[in-house]
């Protein structure tokens, strides 16, 4: 018979005899059977899919979703529109609304068209409140494109009332505390002004020096009751200053002098606020100062929150990584 129809390769046939080949072939077959026998007693590697689902990698990206913050009891979208603007696929729609007694805006509509989304992650990166994340969905199926327009607010709708209520209370508390602080600061300034008067405000140069020093001294006083994160210090530093400036006319100091003060003592961040205060000085000094304070406070609070959110995200990531490593081993 030709080599083609034999059971083995032509080269091998020459080296071994008929019986040797048979025996060798037999043991090859046995080794094959040993492999299948071993696998018979090993655990199946498949998942019973609809009932069992794979654990997805932490790097898995899918449609975006809103983060449900535990301490807020809801998402934290402030409808800032940054994600809408940055999305290269134009697949996000957000609408927001301001509620009475709640300081920040709140999203009332948040639609994502997953059929368009390129999962680039820009929206997640840009969100100032870190309230966007990747979801883990991977088996959405439909005959219609519209089925992939996800309403991300849906799981939060029921909790929205409660969230707003809680936020109102929290915001009111915050506002009250600020008021107290403002009053305390005012008193301190009044005391300063009184001192100045007592010192005799005739000499402008003399009056200037205590002005610049005393607000600084007042700082720790104002901080003590707040006891907030260190970051919040910077913006707060200018509050007493602003008021001090507002009171400058009382002290009979020249307007140009007060203005000259501002750039010297101010830190760059507080510049805007200060200028506004300075400009509005002649007309209504007191209300302006009161307005300036909460604004800068909100900024600080928001910064602190973002920082906290970042920390949280980092911790979560670390945990997930550790878990993944543990499993990998």
């Amino acid at each position: 018979m030709s080599a083609d129809t034999s059971l083995v390769a032509p080269g091998a046939e020459k080296k071994r005899g008929y019986l040797a080949l048979l025996v060798a072939g037999f043991f090859t077959l046995l080794s094959g059977m040993w492999v299948t026998l071993k696998n018979l007693f090993r655990k199946p590697v498949t998942l019973r899919y609809p009932r069992e689902r794979p654990e997805l990698s932490t790097a898995f990206r899918s449609a975006i979703d809103l983060v449900d913050f535990e301490e807020l009891g809801s998402h934290d979208c402030v409808a800032c529109m940054q994600c809408v603007n940055i999305c290269p696929s134009f697949c996000i729609q957000v609408e927001g609304q301001k509620y009475d007694g709640v300081k920040r805006k709140r999203a009332t509509k948040f639609l994502v068209d997953y059929a368009l989304c390129s999962v680039c992650g820009l929206c997640i990166d840009v969100c100032p409140t870190e309230t966007l994340k990747y979801s883990k969905i991977y088996d959405e199926v439909s005959f219609e494109r519209d089925a992939f327009v996800f309403d991300l607010l849906e799981p939060f709708v029921e909790r929205e009332e409660a969230f707003l209520e809680g936020q109102r209370i929290a915001d009111a508390k915050e506002a009250e505390e600020k008021k107290k602080k403002a009053e305390a600061a005012k008193k301190a300034k009044a005391a300063v002004a009184a001192k100045k008067k007592a010192d005799g405000g005739e000499e402008a140069e003399k009056a200037e020096k205590p002005k610049a020093e005393k607000p600084k001294a007042a700082k720790p006083k104002a901080e003590a009751p707040k006891a907030e994160a260190p970051k919040a210090e910077a913006p707060r530093a200018d509050e007493p200053k602003a008021e001090a400036e507002a009171e400058a006319p009382k002290a009979e100091a020249d307007a140009p002098k007060a203005e000259a003060d501002a750039p010297k003592a101010d830190e760059p961040k507080a510049g805007k606020v200060d200028k506004a205060a300075v400009e509005a000085k002649p007309a209504e000094p007191k209300p302006k100062a009161a307005f300036a304070k909460p604004d800068s406070d909100a900024k600080a609070a928001s910064l602190a929150r973002i920082e906290a959110a970042k920390k949280r995200a980092l911790e979560k990531k670390k945990q997930a990584e550790q878990q993944a490593e543990g499993e990998g081993e």
Binding site: M1, T5, G32, T46
Partner: protein
């Protein structure tokens, strides 16, 4: 003393009825079980789960499948050879049922006991191939016909070593009555005396049942489904039933000839008998899910150039040794 059904039941017709009922029930339950086992074993060897949903471990999956098959429309293609086409599923099933009745499952019981039992078994097994050829020819389908022709060629090739291997055993036992052969294996089974013969028999038996790696008559990748391409519903199920019952029959022959049949310590005879049979069937499943299908020329080369010469040599050596010893 060996008792048969006709000894226990005096009325001949009643005995026949009982035997038919028992065999049909056994064949059906066995096929249901084996199909399930095949799925499970193949799944686990491939590290899948296999059927898990219907019943414990998915055991009733095949039962549900039978319901499905029963409810299927029976489709007959145009221009078929009607008598052959319709007879084939019945003819394929009859010898299988007959073959099942010949084996002593215990020291004292066999459904039928004749002194040519072994010859009968092989004769019935040969009839199965006639049915396969009827199916292939009657279907008026080229794949079916090709499958049937392959089946016949394969049958001729492998029947020879099969019978030569069995012949060596009958020479040692000096009987063709299956009960006698089992009895003759006193304290040790014939596989120790006839290791080569046992191996040849088993390989040929796998080829006889058309199972992988010898499943050339129904090679899916080439012939759609081979000889039963044009059969649907319950007709197809009958071919299926015949295939799985055939596995049992060749395993029963192997058990009786080489493994000492119902003999074994401690446990009762039927337990040993069926334990051995199902172990051999498991090995068949194991083979199927391990080895790829042979090419047709390889199949023929293996039969004519390896199995038949070896079986002849085995027979010659056995005869010589027997002559010298006596």
């Amino acid at each position: 003393m060996l008792k048969t059904l006709s000894d226990l039941v005096p009325n001949v017709f009643l005995a026949m009825l009982l035997a038919a009922a028992a065999i049909m029930a056994f064949a059906t339950v066995n096929a249901l079980f084996l199909v399930w086992l095949e799925r499970k074993v193949s799944a686990r060897m491939q590290r899948r789960y296999g059927p898990t949903v219907v019943g414990p471990f998915g055991m009733f999956q095949t039962l549900v499948d039978v319901v499905k098959l029963l409810s299927k429309q029976l489709i007959s293609p145009k221009d078929i050879d009607k008598p052959l086409y319709h007879l084939a599923p019945i003819v394929v099933f009859v010898p299988v049922v007959l073959g099942l009745s010949l084996f002593p499952i215990d020291k004292s019981f066999a459904l039928v006991d004749t002194n040519v039992g072994l010859v009968l078994v092989f004769a019935f097994a040969g009839m199965g191939f006639i049915a396969i050829f009827m199916a292939g020819w009657g279907s008026n389908n080229k794949y079916a016909l090709l499958g049937a022709m392959r089946a016949v060629a394969q049958n001729i090739a492998y029947e020879i070593p099969l019978i030569l291997a069995a012949l060596a055993v009958t020479m040692i036992a000096r009987s063709m009555r299956i009960a006698d052969i089992v009895e003759a294996q006193g304290s040790f089974p014939y596989i120790l005396v006839q290791p080569i013969g046992a191996l040849i028999y088993y390989i040929s038996a796998v080829a006889e049942t058309n199972r992988a790696p010898f499943d050339i008559p129904e090679a899916e990748s080439e012939l759609v489904a081979g000889f039963h391409t044009e059969y649907s519903g319950m007709r197809f199920a009958l071919f299926f039933l015949a295939e799985y019952t055939n596995m049992v029959i060749v395993s029963m022959v192997a058990t009786s000839l080489f493994l000492g049949g119902y003999k074994g310590p401690l446990l009762p005879g039927p337990v040993w008998f069926f334990g051995k049979v199902y172990f051999l069937i498991f090995v068949m499943l194991w083979l199927r899910w391990t080895f790829p299908r042979l090419r047709f020329d390889q199949l023929m080369t293996f039969a004519w150039k390896v199995l038949i010469p070896l079986a002849l040599a085995n027979l010659l050596v056995t005869a010589t040794v027997l002559k010298v010893m006596s």
